[in-house]
């Protein structure tokens, strides 16, 4: 924690009504960017801080991360409240507004700097690294909220607030602070039996000296963490009252439907607006550089009128691009399989390919904007409100300080709503500018969403491995396209000669971050290949991996746990099989065993998935478990069914009919175990995605002898041998 105290400033003050507020601001990384919390800020009623305690004894915690169903806001509130020794039923959480003071990038950077995996040559993990590059943003991504903001920010704020409350009580009672203790939103002095609520102490606590290095709890004294309080956002999600960006409404609001150049980079060449102009409810046809929008008094009318138009777009010179041409280019740059040492007793080679993927969040992209002169208001759902505000400002040519942005609960994120992918905000504010000063809600259809995503990249990877005379691997080499980094290509195994080289083959398809980022491709490549090496060696795939993990106790423990949970090795009926895989990403190690059944006709059913996860420690057990389950199902849908293909430069798929998802009937039973370790907290939103596809492919091989080297699996015929 010394690191933290050098890098940050903690300030406090009172708020109107006699409350107490406390915040942490990172001026070291961004001089002048963050308004320090001060009595002056409080006097102006400016809430630029994380904790407020009101006289009625409620603690409100402002969370600088968005909620997209991952339980982050509840988990961060728990981490703060635990250090504060607040009574959980008296704790409220609220998303911090899109103000610079709530930028969280510097905290994540602190986490990134702190967490350097012991494995040499790999650098910090990708999530923290990537998010740290976005320093100054209010981003939720890279599985960083709990391990970054929570560990290095919210805990410290909670502990500091407690020390101040205790100091205030001690001063009132004329006793030593060391004789007082906080428990369940009260400060008590055991010797005299006196006690006061946090609410009663809040006003005087605010004038106490702010500790810069408050003592943090030993994990053994956690009272709220490691339990499973119900998520704070769930009641509003069962009665329809939760408000998403698509639900926002404001007086005089108009609706826009939009058609964007089908080939990325293309421009609107011409459009005859007459057919739409004459239709009921239509206010205007708005022509943008790369799109045409119809603005009307209802979305359905806007959409119907848009369908009557026949806009022409240019193809930016990419009209001949197809999935085939992209994979042909991959093939060409990869060339022959990588070389392996000449003294190998046995050489194993394999080629794997994965497709482009869309995020397909259940809530499509939606943004409402009102532009009035050099000012704008924006209502949307993003994983980084501060950067979205900048996007809007840039599109309008105005100062970011003149843009007020309200963020809503997200109907799924998975990386689609991250910095640099705010095209929906950019387009919506330009549509609204054309209708100024009327507010306009631009709703993307599912077709817009599938066809104008920032896709998970397609990739091709060629592997060669060498076994010695005893069947132990001595080399594993790969050449891959589609991007990679130290974390994603890393294999934990004790193989003397491991190499992975990227070969670049550019294409014009727009790429973004998809849940677990590069690990989603490389997890499949490397954990399929190690399985192929195990079979080539005539060894059990679990035992083969285990024998290579002697130097990696965390990996070994997770692998063994998953295998034990699954009953690995116990006989299965004909046509059934188990597959195993293990990946580290975002500071978390996830081992998964998938159990499948394949009918004589080749119909695949995924029966069970067993996950053993080492993310250090767990904050909210139940919502952490939900992230494991959700990550597995998300990855399963992609592995079984999902594929974005390109023809004539365009995305072929349009909606859930041709970009299908699994349903409840296809969902396996998921059994989760957390393997506690003394490692720093790891992320949880993403790390259970990468091992699923290879564990599934490995299970298919075990069940029927068909080796899946291409995703989605539906492209491989599965006939039982």
């Amino acid at each position: 924690m010394n690191r933290w105290s050098r890098r940050a400033f903690i300030g406090a003050g009172t708020v109107a009504g006699g409350g107490f507020l406390l915040g942490v601001a990172g001026f070291t990384f961004a001089p002048g960017r963050h308004s320090l919390v001060s009595a002056d800020a409080a006097r102006r009623g400016q809430l630029t801080t994380w904790i407020t305690i009101s006289p009625d004894n409620f603690v409100t915690i402002l969370i600088p991360h968005c909620e997209m169903g991952q339980g982050t806001q509840t988990a961060l509130a728990m981490m703060t409240a635990d250090e504060l020794d607040a009574d959980w039923p008296l704790v409220r959480a609220q998303e911090a507004p899109a103000l610079d003071a709530y930028a969280n990038g510097y905290i994540v950077r602190a986490a990134g700097g702190h967490y350097v995996p012991a494995i040499l040559g790999r650098g910090v993990d990708y999530g923290a690294y990537k998010v740290a590059e976005w320093f100054g943003f209010q981003v939720t991504g890279g599985s960083t909220a709990v391990r970054g903001t929570g560990e290095y920010g919210m805990r410290v704020a909670g502990a500091a607030a407690k020390e101040m409350l205790v100091a205030a009580a001690a001063r009132q009672w004329g006793v030593s602070a060391s004789e007082c203790a906080a428990k369940r939103s009260r400060v008590m002095h055991a010797a005299s039996g006196r006690s006061a609520t946090f609410g009663e102490l809040a006003r005087s606590a605010a004038s106490e000296r702010v500790p810069t290095s408050p003592a943090l709890k030993n994990p053994d004294s956690f009272t709220i963490r490691r339990t499973s309080p119900r998520r704070l956002d769930i009641p509003s999600k069962v009665d329809g009252s939760a408000k998403y960006a698509i639900d926002f409404s404001t007086p005089g609001m108009l609706y826009a439907a939009i058609e964007i150049a089908p080939v990325y980079g293309g421009a609107l060449l011409s459009v005859d607006t007459a057919p739409a102009d004459a239709m009921p409810g239509v206010k205007k046809v708005v022509k943008l550089e790369e799109a045409v929008a119809v603005v009307a008094d209802s979305f359905w009318r806007a959409r119907r009128a848009l369908a009557a138009l026949k806009p022409e777009f240019s193809d930016a010179g990419h009209g001949s691009v197809s999935s085939e041409s992209i994979f042909a280019a991959f093939d060409k740059v990869l060339g022959a399989p990588p070389d392996v040492p000449a003294h190998a007793a046995k050489v194993v080679t394999a080629e794997y390919r994965v497709p482009f993927l869309a995020h397909a969040t259940m809530e499509p992209m939606v943004c409402t904007a009102k532009v009035d002169g050099d000012r704008a208001e924006v209502w949307t759902g993003v994983q980084d409100p501060l950067n979205a505000r900048k996007t809007a400002a840039k599109a309008l040519g105005i100062d970011a300080a003149n843009v007020r942005l309200t963020n809503f609960v997200l109907g799924g994120g998975f990386g689609r709503r991250l910095p640099f992918t705010f095209d929906y905000v950019d387009l919506a504010v330009r549509v609204a500018k054309a209708m100024s000063p009327a507010p306009v809600k631009t709703i993307w259809t599912r077709e817009n969403d599938i066809q104008h995503d920032y896709y998970r990249g397609a990739a091709l990877s060629r592997h060669a491995g060498a076994l010695d005379g005893s069947g132990m691997p001595i080399a594993a080499h790969s050449n891959y396209t589609g991007g990679g980094n130290g974390e994603s290509v890393f294999m934990p195994y004790a193989i003397g000669d491991m190499k992975a080289h990227e070969k670049k083959a550019d294409h014009p398809i727009r790429l973004g971050q998809w849940r677990s980022v590069l690990n989603s491709q490389h997890g499949f490549f490397k954990e399929s290949f190690i399985d192929e090496m195990a079979h080539a060696a005539g060894r059990d795939p679990f035992e083969f991996r285990r024998a290579l993990l002697g130097e990696r106790p965390r990996f070994k423990a997770a692998l063994e746990k998953a295998a034990a949970m699954s009953g690995w090795g116990a006989p299965l009926p004909s046509g059934e099989g188990r597959g195993i895989a293990i990946c580290e990403s975002f500071g978390t190690i996830a081992a998964e065993v998938v159990h499948v059944a394949i009918s004589p006709e080749g119909r695949l059913r995924v029966l069970n998935v067993y996950a053993a996860v080492d993310c250090g420690d767990v904050v909210n057990l139940d919502s952490a478990t939900a992230q494991v389950e959700g990550g597995i199902v998300f990855a399963l849908s992609a592995a079984l069914l999902s594929e974005i293909t390109i023809a004539q430069g365009r995305i072929v798929q349009q909606n859930f009919r041709d970009y299908p998802m699994i349903h409840i009937a296809d969902a396996p039973k998921v059994v989760t175990a957390f393997v506690r370790s003394d490692a720093p907290l790891g992320g949880l939103g993403e790390p259970c995605v990468p091992p699923l596809a290879p564990a599934l492919a490995n299970a298919v091989y075990a069940a029927c002898g068909a080796r899946v080297r291409e995703l989605p699996i539906r492209n491989t015929p599965l006939k039982r041998a």
Partner: protein, 156 residues
């Protein structure tokens, strides 16, 4: 042309195109935003509401088809301030993540339980085709069985 529909017990007369999907009538004309747009082609179930007690996809149901009928949305599922047993089970099992699909799922499950008070796993699989990108299916199934047994308990 005016159309009269009853939504959550309240009658509304609306001067809208008869072919406007019920989804947009509910969301934009009546402000009932709990019912969600997901695909517009009856492929994901986020827009599920009850038409005379039966689950239907409102994104492809024209307003004219609901004329004179009773529509129930997620906002009207709770009765007398008490959550429907499916909603209660959803909280007990902490089913929702992003929550966007859940109004539709809850309406679909409530509709299923009205037809089949104690559905088997196979019946659930056959009847429930909602898409949930967060992957909450594992919990949904447990919650459905809980809600079904709560109903049985109430009936006996």
């Amino acid at each position: 042309m005016a159309t009269t529909i009853t939504v959550n017990g309240a009658e509304h007369t609306l001067d809208l195109e008869p072919d406007m999907p019920l989804l947009w009538v509910l969301r934009e004309a009546l402000g009932l935003t709990g019912t969600k747009y997901g695909c517009g082609i009856s492929a994901c179930g986020a827009c599920t509401v009850h038409l005379n007690g039966r689950a239907v996809h409102s994104c492809t149901l024209p307003l004219s088809a609901a004329a004179g009928q009773h529509v129930t949305t997620i906002e009207g599922l709770a009765r007398a301030g008490s959550l429907h047993r499916v909603q209660q089970a959803w909280i007990a099992h902490q089913v929702p993540q992003c929550g966007y699909c859940q109004s539709g799922v809850i309406m679909a499950v409530a509709g299923l339980l009205a037809q089949r008070p104690a559905p088997t796993d196979d019946e659930i699989d056959a009847q429930l085709s909602n898409v949930c990108r967060c992957g909450t299916f594992v919990r949904m199934r447990a919650a459905i069985h809980d809600a079904a047994s709560a109903a049985e308990g109430a009936a006996s």
